[in-house]
């Protein structure tokens, strides 16, 4: 069954590529879209089977002396295939209505099919070579997709270059890490690598290489710089796939490393992962909270969520080395639940952002507004996604964060000083992250969908076509369904990583016997509904007596101007926060005051400009790139085109070789 599922994915990929190539432009979306959705469904079904314990192998012999390529998803791989498959299917259906211009081209559809299939096969790979092969395929296809609109905007090309550069950094680190492991084990198969462990230098180097390599793909600070550039520039269905599915493979890699290849390492391994996660979570959400480009905001929020996932993995490693395996299991479960939750709400949010972009041509929150009445379904779906991202109760985001916090507060113990200090700090950081996420998504929803339109594009917005609405509704439904009945998700997660101490209870609630906590959101919803009934009854009684009366102008303390430009914008909404975190965000502000010509005390015009750049990019990457640039420029002097210089070089090289050989 598994083998058939894997072959079906490859077959559907080939079919989608062929359809995208031969079907004329008018019918291309309707032909290629369903085929790509089929790849996703096949992947999800295969993943579900693997999660249920089915086994199967696809073996591809190759001519090179490296053994056959193996595809055989484990339960964990199956879990990730399931998540990626569902996201892929939804994004493909969305794409049918969304694509226009360059994103509707042959190459774009072909790359989309290859991208989705290769992501699913990465999760199925059971040996190093096939893993890296599909990893690279995924990277190439996604780079092509990021480049889709390069002729429309000048910002696309630098984004793609950053992305390709960071992807290659990630690949080389992985190659080095896997190389060390494979050399030690004498085999490239994952089952053989699994025995490699210990506290040797090789293990330490391999660990650092692999974790950093996967972290770069996952968008973890300080390797995140590609993410806030590539996500906004890619077409929205691709952003959804990249953010909700592709970065998860980085998380998958880190889990593989700590649960299969290098089990039970030193304490600093756990601290390293936890530290990376902590910094990413806080920095990511801080940048997101002050961002006014909607897709950039969502991209930074991805960094935040991946940070939380790594934080969970790091605490699981620490707790396991401390001997509290029950709580460690809960932490790992929290990580997988976060993967699921983030996939659900980030798909919804990116698809919603795409819907806004398509309807208004705007991505800048400062130029949106009033979309709630113009695009009701997009507003509802984006709202649900935003609630999930803000981790409010009754959404899947809350369940995941609740499990994480339960693991953290039960993880510390008096006997372990490191844990007694690390865990409270981590709880504080997670709480700050949650608070800032709340602010970020209230801003994103409130500024985009409420109040009055701030630009003409927003004023003339129309609701999106049917396939887009279907996809958004499906994704939003997942956010709510998994949030109300997390029991199923809990079981899937427990199966995926062979965890004990997590199960379901009540009306599909979640039960954590390892830490003595349970949560049944369905009952919470019932309680809330029961308490809301009397309030609604009172409201309806008075509403019948005195209906709402529309007035011409809002009150605004008598100071409302008719111009919508007088409203609060996303930038002004985040201004207090930008001021409070001035030291870590380093915004550049220009205020130009033009005085009236008659009197200096009268102001004619004030111009305010604020630029927020990524601190890591300006302080770390740009200087490093500048250094390399200068060195290569200096190196150019050697190559001056004069033949006798080149002869001299080869003569000197010859002498050096002779000297080295004789020594």
């Amino acid at each position: 069954m598994i083998a058939a599922g894997l072959l079906a994915q490859a077959g559907l990929m080939a079919a989608a590529v062929v359809l995208a190539a031969v079907v004329p432009a008018r019918y291309r979306a309707r032909a290629a879209g369903p085929a790509i959705a089929g790849i996703g469904v096949a992947g999800a079904v295969t993943g579900l089977l693997a999660l249920g314990g089915s086994q199967g192998v696809v073996e591809m012999p190759v001519a090179l002396p490296i053994g056959p390529l193996l595809l055989s998803p484990t339960a964990l791989g199956g879990f990730f295939m399931l998540v990626i498959g569902i996201v892929g299917a939804i994004a493909a259906v969305y794409a049918i209505g969304y694509v226009h211009g360059p994103s509707a081209s042959r190459s774009s559809w072909m790359a989309l099919a290859v991208f989705l299939a290769s992501m699913q096969l990465v999760a199925a790979a059971a040996d190093v070579v096939s893993f890296l092969l599909f990893w690279e395929l995924m990277a190439v296809a996604s780079t092509a997709l990021v480049l889709t609109e390069h002729a429309q905007r000048a910002t696309v090309r630098p984004a793609a270059i950053w992305y390709a550069g960071m992807t290659q950094v990630s690949f080389f680190l992985l190659l080095a890490g896997f190389g060390i492991l494979a050399a030690q084990a004498g085999s490239t198969q994952f089952t053989a690598l699994a025995v490699t462990a210990g506290d040797s230098t090789e293990a330490n180097v391999a660990f650092v290489c692999l974790v950093l390599g996967f972290a770069a793909k996952a968008g973890v600070v300080p390797l995140h710089v590609w993410l806030p550039r590539a996500h906004p520039e890619a077409p929205s269905h691709v952003s959804a796939l990249m953010s909700a599915a592709m970065v998860k493979l980085g998380v998958y890699g880190v889990i593989l490393v700590v649960t299969r290849f290098l089990v039970g390492g030193a304490t600093w391994w756990g601290l390293l992962i936890l530290g990376l996660g902590l910094v990413s979570a806080v920095y990511g959400i801080l940048q997101a909270s002050v961002a006014s480009d909607l897709k950039r905001l969502l991209a930074y929020s991805t960094t935040e969520n991946v940070g939380l996932m790594l934080l969970a993995i790091g605490s699981a490693v620490l707790l396991r080395s401390n001997g509290t395996t029950g709580v460690a299991d809960v932490a790992l479960a929290a990580c997988l639940l976060l993967v699921m939750a983030h996939a659900a709400f980030k798909t919804t949010l990116f698809l919603g952002a795409g819907s806004i972009l398509r309807a208004t041509g705007e991505r800048d929150l400062d130029r949106l507004g009033g979309l709630g009445s113009r695009m009701p379904l997009t507003a509802a779906a984006f709202g649900i996604g935003a609630l999930g991202a803000a981790a409010l109760p009754l959404t899947v985001g809350f369940v995941a964060e609740w499990v994480l916090l339960q693991a953290l507060i039960h993880g510390a113990s008096a006997s372990d000083r490191i844990l007694a200090i690390v865990m409270p700090l981590t709880v504080g950081a997670v709480a700050l992250t949650a608070g800032l996420a709340l602010m970020t998504f209230v801003k994103a929803y409130g500024i985009a969908f409420l109040a009055r339109p701030r630009s003409q594009g927003a004023e003339q917005a129309r609701e999106s076509p049917l396939t887009m609405r279907m996809a958004m509704a499906a994704a939003a439904m997942l956010v709510i369904a998994l949030g109300l009945a997390p029991g199923l998700a809990a079981r899937a997660v427990a199966d995926a990583a062979g965890l004990v101490g997590i199960g379901s209870t009540g009306l599909l609630g979640i039960d954590l016997p390892a830490v003595g906590a349970l949560l049944d959101p369905a009952w919470l919803a019932i309680l809330a509904a029961a308490l809301a009934v009397p309030v609604l009854m009172v409201s309806l009684r008075y509403a019948r007596r005195r209906p709402r009366r529309e007035v011409d102008l809002a009150w605004g303390c008598g100071g409302v101007r008719v111009s919508p430009r007088m409203q609060y914008t996303a930038t002004s909404y985040a201004e207090p926060l930008a001021r409070i975190f001035d030291d870590s965000l380093r915004p550049e502000r220009d205020v130009i005051v033009t005085h009236s010509s008659e009197a200096r005390y009268l102001v004619e015009r004030i111009q305010y400009r604020q630029r927020l750049s990524d601190v890591f990019e300006t302080r770390l990457y740009l200087p490093a790139i500048g250094l390399v640039d200068r060195m290569t420029t200096a190196g150019r002097r050697l190559q001056n085109g004069k033949i006798h210089f080149y002869l001299a070089y080869s003569f000197i090289a010859f002498l050096v070789v002779l000297v080295v050989v004789t020594l």
Binding site: A391, W402, G428, G435, A543, R548, A554, W555, C557
Partner: protein, 317 residues
């Protein structure tokens, strides 16, 4: 067990709805007397709510369904808080934990509803209030979670009813340094979250300094009534939580008419004491500048963090 919990939850909700406007009236009355005014009597908030409920609602152009739904969501979330927090007794629903994270989550639903109401009409004041409100809420959250985490360490559970139960059984733990640190941190967080002095001035009439009031400027009639009642209920529930943590006596551990009666009387007295103290302290405080508030909150976070680490160290000793 489940029936007991339901009886208790209904009692708590009804008692809190009846008492809360009186508590606000009491606080205003204390303030008036200390400032040398006569005051309107403690039943005035009740009369205000009744009057507002019956009044006509004005709908500004461009406002959406949020204007009508937000207030109802706020009240409903406050009522859930009243049902979950151990105010009259400590019998919890078996499947809905009165878990600290769940309580904070429900609290935040109300926060978000209020912030969205502020943004809905598109007036500059509403946006300003909403922005400040969310900034403060974001900075308060670490303190709240870490402070209650500190209280949960000795018993190994984050359920509020179990924390209160254990404090009832060993009153000495209330005066322990860890518990005091955590309580001070929690009190500061509650004051910030419920928009009281010195973070926000609940009786201000100067738009530029408003936080809470700025968000409700565009609401009228029953919308405003729900917003006011919902916010008051949040304050009362959180004060009640502090009351249960500081003075855990009188709470019903099992449900009989007598224990319920004692619980209701106890919570009334506790709320009256805490409300009077809060109002008295507020008279002597000036509102902080908005950009000094983070310093206050950072201070309270450090207290909470100290409380947690200290609680591990004392367990060891």
């Amino acid at each position: 067990m489940r029936l007991d919990a339901a009886v208790l939850a209904v009692t708590q909700v009804v008692v809190m709805v009846v008492l809360t406007p009186l508590l606000i009236g009491l606080m205003r009355q204390v303030r008036s007397r200390l400032e040398g005014r006569a005051g309107a009597g403690i039943a005035q908030p009740w009369r205000d709510v009744r009057k507002l409920l019956a009044k006509e609602v004005l709908k500004a152009p461009g406002t959406s369904w949020v204007q009508a739904t937000g207030p109802v969501v706020l009240v409903a979330s406050s009522l859930v808080l009243c049902a979950l927090i151990p105010l009259v007794g400590t019998v919890a629903f078996p499947l809905i934990p009165d878990d600290l994270f769940v309580v904070v989550g429900v609290l935040l639903i109300g926060t978000v509803a209020l912030a969205l109401v502020g943004l809905d009409a598109g007036s500059a004041f509403g946006g300003m209030g909403s922005s400040r409100h969310m900034t403060i809420a974001a900075l308060v959250e670490p303190t709240v979670l870490v402070a209650i985490y500190a209280l949960s360490v000795p018993i190994g559970s984050s359920a509020l009813s179990q924390i209160v139960d254990s404090r009832m059984q060993s009153p000495a733990s209330i005066a322990a340094p860890v518990s005091l640190l955590a309580l001070v941190a929690l009190a500061i967080a509650v004051i910030a979250e419920t928009s009281r002095m010195p973070v926000d001035n609940p009786s201000t009439h100067l738009e530029l300094t408003m936080v809470h009031e700025a968000m409700t400027l565009e609401s009228s009639g029953r919308d405003l009534a729900w917003l006011e009642l919902g916010s008051w209920l949040r304050l009362a529930a959180l004060l009640g939580l502090i009351g249960a943590l500081v003075l855990p006596w009188g709470l019903a551990t099992e449900i009989t008419p007598l224990t319920l009666l004692i619980g209701v009387v106890a919570v009334t007295i506790k709320l009256a004491i805490l409300g009077a103290v809060l109002a008295t302290v507020e008279v002597f405080l000036a509102k902080l500048r908005l950009f000094r508030v983070p310093e206050l909150l950072a201070g309270s976070f450090v207290l909470a963090l100290l409380a947690v680490t200290a609680s591990y160290l004392t367990v060891q000793a």
